[in-house]
C-alpha cells in the first residue's frame, strides 16, 4: 500500500496568522467602539458618524490599494482573481487602516485620511513586497506623513484643553510645560488621562482600556509583552528621574503625562508590537522597547516637537534589522551578558533623559503664568495669603496690562525671555496684618523675608480714592542669599464696601512711582539707600514703600542668611 508523503511535523498549532490579526482587530475594535461612544456622547451625531465613517473610509481605501497592487504585480497571472481575494485578507491592510485611523483625531478631514491610508499601504507596505517585508510600521509611516503634510486644527466647539488655540493635550503640555514641569493643566488630571474623557486622537486617549486590552492580547500570545513592558518601563523610570533631578513638585502627575498623553500607550500595545518591524529574538525585543522609550522621552523633552511617539516608532524600526543581524547567539546562553546589556541600556537611557532635561532646565522647574514661562514661583505661607503665586523677577517693571487696566496688580516681574508680565489676577485677599514680618517659603525652604507697612496718611493726595476706613499696604519681600527684591507691592484694602478687597484703581501717582522704581533700580542695587535716592511725586505711598524696604532689610540683616 502506498502512503501520502508530507513533511514533518505532522501536528500543527491551531493558531494562525489570520487568527492573530483577528484578535488584534478585536482589541482595536474595542478601542474604536469606545471612541465612537465618546464622539456621540460628547460631540454629537456629526462627529459620532465621523468616527465610524473615517474608519470605514480608511479600510476601504487600503483594500482598493491592495487590489491595485496585486493587479500590477500579477498582470499575466491566470489566477488573478484568487490572488486578489487572498491578498485582500492576507495582506492585512485592514489592520493597518484600523491602527492608522485610531491615530487620527475624529475631526480629521476625509481627504487627509484617504491620503494617509494610501501612503501607509502603498509606500509603507506594498512597495517593500507586502505583508511581512515592510521595514517601517505602515500605520506609523502614514500617520507621520499626514502629520508633516497637514495641520489638523481643532474645530470650534470642541472643548479640549484650550478652546482658543485648539491645542491638544500634547501641544498643551509642550507649550505650557515644554514637557518639563508637573503643573496641573486644567481638564487633564490623572483620572481624565487614565479614562480618556478628553479629546485627542481617536484611539490614543483610552489609556486604561488599552492597558487591559494589551494584557489580554499578551496572554493570548498575540503581542510580545517584552516590548510594551520595556517601553513603558523606560518611559516611567526616565520621567521619574527627570522629576527628581529637576525637582518637580508632582512626579506622579509628570509620569502620568508621559505615559498617557500623546498615544504612548497606543503605540506600546498596537504599534511597537507589530512583529514585522521589530526584532524576532527576545533580547532584541527588550532592546527595541528600551530604545523606543528613550527616543520618545528625548524627542519630547529635548526638541520643540509636541510629540515623540510616532518618530520613535520609525526610528526603532530602522534598528530592528541590525539587532536581528547581531543577535546570533543561542537564546538560552549568555544570560549574564544579556542582562547586563539590557539593564545597562535602561540605566543609560534614564541617565540620558535626566541629563538632557537637567541641562535644558538647569535643574529648575519651569512655570507658566498666564501663558508665560517664568523661572520660579514661591508660595507665601499664611497668614498673609495675599498672593498665591509670585514669580521671581529681577527687575520691577510695568507691563501693558499696567496701562490697559490701570494699576490693577501692583507687582511685576521679569520673565526669562525678558518680557514683563503682571501678576495672576485671581489672588484672593484677606484682612492683612501689617507691621509684621513674614518668611517667604518655597515648599519647606525659607527663601526670604517680607515686611508689611500700613500707609494711612496722605495716600489720597497721591491719587488713591480712599474712603472711610480704607487704607493702603506696602510690602516688600527680599530673597536670602541674593539680596534681591522678590516682590514689591502697594495695594489698597477697601473696607468701605464691607469686604476686604483689592482696590480697583490706583492713580497716576502710583504709576509714576512704579516707573521710577523700574527706571532707577537694577537687580544689584536694590538697597534702602538706592530707594532713598529716588524722587517721586507719590510721596506718601512711596514713603510707605521705602519704610517697608528699610524694615525688610533690617530683618534680613538680623536673620543673617
Amino acid at each position: 500500500m502506498n502512503y501520502v508523503q508530507t513533511t514533518a511535523p505532522y501536528l500543527r498549532r491551531k493558531k494562525t496568522t489570520l487568527q492573530i490579526m483577528i484578535d488584534l482587530a478585536i482589541g482595536l475594535g474595542i478601542i474604536w467602539v469606545l471612541a465612537i461612544v465618546m464622539s456621540f456622547l460628547k460631540l454629537g451625531n456629526g462627529y459620532g458618524l465621523n468616527s465610524i465613517f473615517l474608519m470605514l473610509t480608511s479600510i476601504g481605501v487600503t483594500l482598493v490599494c491592495d487590489v491595485i497592487t496585486t493587479i500590477l504585480k500579477n498582470k499575466k497571472d491566470k489566477e488573478l482573481g484568487k490572488k486578489i481575494v487572498y491578498d485582500l485578507i492576507h495582506n492585512y491592510s485592514w489592520i493597518t487602516a484600523m491602527i492608522f485611523t485610531l491615530c487620527c483625531p475624529v475631526w480629521t478631514p476625509y481627504y487627509v485620511i484617504i491620503i494617509g491610508s494610501i501612503f501607509a499601504t502603498v509606500i509603507g507596505k506594498n512597495v517593500f513586497g507586502g505583508f511581512g517585508k515592510n521595514i517601517f510600521n505602515p500605520a506609523a509611516a502614514g500617520r507621520l506623513f499626514v502629520l508633516l503634510c497637514f495641520s489638523i486644527p481643532t474645530p470650534e466647539g470642541i472643548k479640549g484643553i484650550d478652546a482658543t488655540t485648539g491645542a491638544t493635550i500634547t501641544t498643551a503640555i509642550n507649550s505650557k510645560l515644554n514637557w518639563l514641569g508637573s503643573n496641573a493643566i486644567p481638564g487633564f488630571g490623572i483620572k481624565e488621562l487614565l479614562f480618556g474623557t478628553y479629546f485627542g486622537a481617536m484611539g490614543e486617549v483610552f489609556t486604561l482600556a488599552m492597558l487591559l486590552v494589551g494584557i489580554f492580547l499578551a496572554v493570548r500570545e498575540v503581542i510580545n509583552w517584552r516590548i510594551p513592558a520595556f517601553y513603558l518601563g523606560t518611559i516611567t523610570l526616565s520621567a521619574l528621574m527627570i522629576s527628581l533631578v529637576c525637582g518637580f513638585n508632582d512626579p506622579i502627575l509628570y509620569v502620568t503625562y508621559h505615559l498617557c498623553a500623546g498615544g504612548a500607550m497606543f503605540a506600546a500595545i498596537f504599534m511597537l508590537t507589530d512583529p514585522v518591524t521589530t526584532p524576532t529574538s527576545p533580547l532584541g525585543n527588550c532592546l527595541v522597547g528600551i530604545l523606543a522609550g528613550v527616543m520618545t522621552v528625548l524627542i519630547r523633552v529635548g526638541t520643540n516637537n509636541p510629540e515623540g511617539v510616532v518618530y520613535s516608532i520609525m526610528v526603532v524600526n530602522t534598528f530592528s534589522p541590525m539587532m536581528d543581524h547581531f543577535i546570533t547567539k543561542k537564546t538560552n546562553k549568555n544570560t549574564l551578558v544579556k542582562s547586563a546589556v539590557t539593564f545597562g541600556s535602561v540605566v543609560a537611557s534614564i541617565a540620558l533623559c535626566a541629563g538632557v532635561s537637567y541641562s535644558k532646565n538647569g535643574g529648575r522647574e519651569v512655570y507658566f503664568v498666564n501663558g508665560f514661562k517664568v523661572e520660579e514661583y514661591y508660595e507665601y505661607i499664611e497668614p498673609l495669603n495675599l498672593r498665591n503665586i509670585n514669580a521671581k523677577g529681577y527687575t520691577i517693571a510695568k507691563t501693558e496690562a499696567f496701562e490697559d487696566e490701570g494699576l490693577y496688580a501692583p507687582t511685576y516681574y521679569k520673565l526669562l525671555d525678558g518680557t514683563l508680565v503682571n501678576k495672576v489676577p485671581e489672588a484672593e485677599y484677606e484682612e492683612v496684618q501689617y507691621d509684621k514680618e513674614y518668611l517667604v517659603k518655597n515648599g519647606k525652604k525659607d527663601i526670604g523675608v517680607m515686611y508689611c507697612v500700613k500707609v494711612e496718611q496722605g495716600v489720597e493726595a497721591d491719587g488713591y480714592p480712599i474712603k472711610g476706613n480704607d487704607y493702603c499696604i506696602a510690602y516688600v519681600a527680599i530673597e536670602f542669599n541674593t539680596n534681591a527684591i522678590l516682590e514689591i507691592s502697594l495695594y489698597q484694602v477697601v473696607q468701605s464696601t464691607g469686604t476686604n478687597s483689592e482696590g480697583e484703581c490706583f492713580g497716576d501717582a502710583y504709576t509714576e512711582m512704579v516707573e521710577k522704581v523700574v527706571n532707577n533700580l537694577e537687580y544689584d542695587n536694590l538697597t534702602p539707600e538706592a530707594f532713598d535716592e529716588i524722587e517721586c511725586n507719590a510721596t506718601y505711598s512711596f514713603d510707605g514703600v521705602k519704610k517697608a524696604v528699610k524694615k525688610a532689610y533690617e530683618i534680613y540683616a538680623k536673620e543673617g542668611r
Binding site: Q5, A8, R13, T16, L18, P282, T328, K330, N332, K333
Partner: protein, 435 residues
C-alpha cells in the same frame, strides 16, 4: 532568565487515550513468517552478517554485528536464512538489501548469553550490557553500552519514561507491565555507572505507571519516581535533565553528572542481563486518526510494518505513514519496511494540506525552540544562501524536534528548512575541514 530565553516547551494534545488501555495484539512468529534485518545502520555504516543463505538460526542466535559500534545483532525467530532482499529502510530513507529469515514456527531458543548478578563487578556488568546488543529504544537507537564505557562523576541515573510525542504509549504499557525488570535494570545500570540514585521520570497524569512502580519501590531508597510536566519536548535529554537537576550541559549528559536511558531500554537490560536471552520482541504503538483499531502490538523484531497495520485492522482512509511520532518522525511512501529494536510506533494520520503564509516575524519559533535557536533567522539566512550565517546561528544544534513548525502561525515548514540548512552547513563544514 525567562526574559531572554525561549520558553522551549508547549503542551500538545497527546491522543494517548486511543491506545492507552486497548488490548495488546501479539503477532506470533508462525511458520513461514519472514523477518528482515537491514545491512546498513541508521547512520549509513554497514552491518556485517555472520550467517549466510541456508543457515539455520534459533531465537537469540548471533547473526551479525555493526561495524561502527560493538553492537551484536540476534535473530528474533528460529528458522532458515534466505537470500538477501531489497526492502525499504526508513532510517536511511531508501531501499537497501536486508537479511531475511524465514520462521519455522517453533521458536526454539539458542544457548543463553552469560548472565550477571548485581554482585558482579562493574566491568562484568559493562561487558554484559555490551553483549546484550541493546540500543536506545526511545527512537534514536544509540548503543546503550557506550554511555557506560568508564563513565566518571555520575551521580544520577535518569530513566526516561516521559514519552512526550503524541500518540505513543509503548513506555506507558511496558513500564507498567514489567516493573520488576525495570527496577532490576536500574540497579544494573547504577552499578555500571556508579550512580548514587535513580530517578524514573514520567509525565504527570500517568498515575497507573506511577502507582505500579511505587508499589514495588518500598525497599528501594535510591530509586524514586518523579513526575514531570506534560509538555513537548520533555523527553529530550537536555530538557529532561534541566527539569530534574536544574543543570544545563553542552554535549553529553555526563557533564551534568547524569546518565540517561529510555525506560524500555532499562527494562531490556534487566531482562537480558538476568536471563541471558537477547531481545527478540518489540512493543510498538500503532495509532493515528485513520487507524481502525489503534493499539499496541508486540511483534518479533524485523516484522514488516504492513503486517502490523494489517493485524490491527488497517486504515479507514488515505493516510500518511510515519514510523515514529508525529513531531520527529519522517513520513514514508511504503509500509514494506521492517520494525527495528529502536522503533516504538507507527503513526498513521490523515494527510493535511498545509498552506504557507508570509512570515510575520513574530518570533514564535524562536520562543518555542528548546535548543535556544532562532529558526526564523536561520530560514532567512538559508534562503539568502548565507551558509556562514546559518552556522553562526548554531544550526547544527538543531535536534529537529518539530517545535518551530508546530508553533508557526504562518504554517511555514521551518523544521524542513532546518534539516536542509543542516545538510548544507554540514557539507560546508566538511569542505572547510578539508582545506
Amino acid at each position: 532568565m525567562i526574559l531572554f530565553r525561549s520558553v522551549g516547551r508547549r503542551h500538545l494534545q497527546g491522543y494517548k487515550e486511543l491506545t492507552k488501555h486497548s488490548a495488546i495484539v501479539t503477532l506470533e512468529a508462525s511458520e513461514g513468517k519472514l523477518v528482515y534485518f537491514p545491512t546498513l545502520a541508521p547512520n549509513g555504516k554497514p552491518i556485517t552478517y555472520s550467517v549466510k543463505e541456508g543457515d539455520e538460526v534459533k531465537v537469540g542466535t548471533k547473526i551479525g554485528q555493526r561495524t561502527d559500534f560493538e553492537v551484536p545483532l540476534y535473530s528474533s525467530v528460529s528458522g532458515k536464512v534466505l537470500a538477501n532482499k531489497n526492502v525499504f529502510s526508513p532510517q536511511v530513507n531508501r531501499a537497501i538489501p536486508h537479511l531475511v529469515i524465514e520462521s519455522d514456527g517453533k521458536n526454539e531458543k539458542a544457548v543463553p548469553l552469560k548472565t550477571v548478578t548485581l554482585d558482579d563487578s562493574k566491568e562484568d556488568i559493562f561487558e554484559a550490557i555490551k553483549q546484550a546488543g541493546i540500543v536506545g529504544m526511545g527512537g534514536a537507537g544509540f548503543p546503550t553500552y557506550v554511555k557506560y564505557n568508564n563513565p566518571k562523576g555520575i551521580n544520577t541515573l535518569i530513566v526516561n519514561g516521559v514519552e512526550c510525542e503524541p500518540f505513543l504509549t509503548t513506555d506507558f504499557v511496558t513500564m507498567q507491565q514489567d516493573v520488576d525488570n525495570l527496577i532490576l535494570g536500574c540497579k544494573y545500570l547504577m552499578k555500571a555507572s556508579e550512580a548514587k540514585n535513580t530517578i524514573i521520570a514520567i509525565k504527570v497524569h500517568k498515575d497507573e505507571v506511577k502507582d505500579a512502580i511505587n508499589a514495588k519501590l518500598k525497599d528501594e531508597p535510591t530509586i524514586k519516581v518523579q513526575e514531570v510536566p506534560d509538555v513537548y519536548p520533555m523527553g529530550w535529554e537536555k530538557v529532561l535533565i534541566k527539569e530534574i537537576t536544574g543543570k544545563e550541559y553542552e554535549r553529553l549528559p555526563a557533564e551534568a553528572g547524569v546518565v540517561i536511558n529510555n525506560g524500555q531500554s532499562v527494562i531490556s537490560i534487566g531482562q537480558v542481563l538476568s536471563t541471558g536471552e537477547p531481545i527478540s520482541l518489540r512493543t510498538i504503538t500503532v495509532s493515528g486518526n485513520v487507524i481502525k483499531n489503534p493499539t499496541n502490538v508486540v511483534c518479533p523484531i524485523g516484522t514488516l510494518a504492513s503486517e502490523i497495520i494489517e493485524a490491527v485492522g488497517g486504515t479507514t482512509d488515505e493516510a500518511t505513514l510515519i514510523p515514529g511520532g508525529p513531531m520527529c518522525g519522517r513520513s514514508v511512501k511504503t509500509d514494506e519496511f521492517p520494525i527495528l529494536m529502536q522503533m516504538g510506533s507507527l503513526t498513521l494520520l490523515k494527510p493535511v494540506k498545509i498552506v504557507e503564509e508570509a512570515c510575520l516575524r513574530c518570533g514564535s519559533c524562536t520562543m518555542h525552540c528548546p535548543a535556544g535557536l532562532q529558526p526564523v533567522e536561520i530560514r532567512n539566512a538559508f534562503k539568502a544562501k548565507d551558509t556562514e550565517r546559518t552556522i553562526k546561528l548554531n544550526v547544527m544544534s538543531c535536534v529537529e524536534c518539530g517545535m518551530c513548525s508546530y508553533s508557526c502561525p504562518s504554517k511555514i515548514q521551518l523544521t524542513e528548512t532546518m534539516k536542509n540548512a543542516k545538510t548544507v552547513a554540514r557539507f560546508k563544514m566538511s569542505q572547510q575541514q578539508k582545506k
